[in-house]
């Protein structure tokens, strides 16, 4: 038994030179990995261009994306990105009550850019003649386009402006009793205009989204 142990070959210990060479090789491999992969992927530092070539730079951006700016411009016209329509500004809100005496009328319109959207709800507590219509910017009265003239006491819906201009309603009280019309809208309009029986056109203030109460429930 002891004779067998004595006959077994004894493994040779690596020399100091071999150890040093192996250590240097490992260090070089680690530095190479750091420069090729770790720095580009973790910190976006790409001294050798390997991060860009291997697509590793995107990994470094994943943690802190640069925000995409909103569409540019002052006109509230939508920029479509797939199923999303983005606007260069916030939408507005508005709510009005019109008391129409016997045979009186009022016209109320919002300025929307082409393809801009408005949601609306209006109702009357009596019969009214109504005409939802629009006038293109800079055109005369002959260019007026009617969207809905059917007799209604109530209407809720969404409207997409077919052209840049003022779009809204004409409400007329056809009878001898007073009628009240209430309208509420929200949309990407910039201004509102009220037209009266005295042939006046008055600009009306519309509110920004800060006017919407914040819910705490």
């Amino acid at each position: 038994m002891s004779t067998e142990l004595q006959n077994m070959p004894v493994p040779l210990a690596p020399s100091a030179r071999t150890l040093a060479f192996a250590s240097l090789a490992a260090l070089a491999a680690a530095v190479a990995l750091l420069l090729i992969a770790v720095l580009p992927a973790e910190y976006g530092v790409d001294p050798l261009g390997t991060g860009k070539a291997l697509g590793l730079l995107a990994l470094s951006r994943a943690g802190h994306l640069d925000p995409v700016p909103p569409p540019e411009g002052t006109a509230l016209v939508p920029v479509h990105e797939g199923n999303v329509a983005l606007y260069p500004g916030e939408y507005k809100v508005d709510s009005r009550v019109f008391v129409l005496g016997p045979y009186e009328f009022v016209e109320f319109k919002y300025h929307l850019g082409k393809d801009a959207v408005m949601l609306f709800s209006w109702s009357a507590n009596g019969d009214v003649l109504q005409d939802f219509h629009g006038d293109p910017d800079g055109a005369d009265a002959s260019a007026t386009q009617s969207y809905d003239k059917q007799p209604r006491r109530k209407s809720d819906g969404m409207f997409t402006a077919p052209f840049s201009g003022i779009h809204g309603w004409y409400w007329e009280n056809p009878g001898g009793d007073t009628v009240t019309v209430k309208v509420t809208t929200t949309g990407f309009y910039t201004k509102a205009h009220q037209f009266t029986m005295r042939s006046t056109r008055e600009e009306r203030h519309v509110r920004g989204i800060d006017a919407i109460p914040v819910s705490d429930k």
Binding site: G101, P102, Y103, M197
Partner: protein, 107 residues
């Protein structure tokens, strides 16, 4: 050359006249007839304001959606007048509806 200038001038004049006609605004006056003659009538609205409106051959008068003669108009009738004009003092009646007496609106 003179003919061309003449035509150009004529076009400018017609455009100016046409523009003025198109510039007329629409007014609605609702109230009671207080004065009346063949050429014009006066309407007092609910605020007490008096409106003078001119009549011409194209003025249409109706009652219960049926056309009636201009001579049907009488002092004291309630009317809804659609008129055109440059301003409140220069109104021409296009359409006059005789309506049932309008109850006074409480102020």
């Amino acid at each position: 050359m003179r003919k061309r200038e003449f035509i150009l001038g004529l076009v400018v004049i017609m455009a100016a006249i046409g523009g003025r006609m198109l510039a007329h605004e629409h007014f609605r006056v609702i109230g009671t007839i207080t004065k009346l003659d063949k050429k014009q009538f006066e309407v007092k609205d609910k605020t007490g304001k008096l409106w003078t409106v001119y009549l011409d051959k194209k003025t249409k008068v109706s009652r219960d959606k049926q056309p009636v003669a201009v001579t049907t108009l009488k002092i004291g009738q309630s009317v809804v007048v659609d008129a055109y004009g440059d301003d409140e003092s220069d109104l021409l009646a296009l359409d006059i509806r005789i309506v049932p007496p309008i109850a006074a609106t409480p102020k």
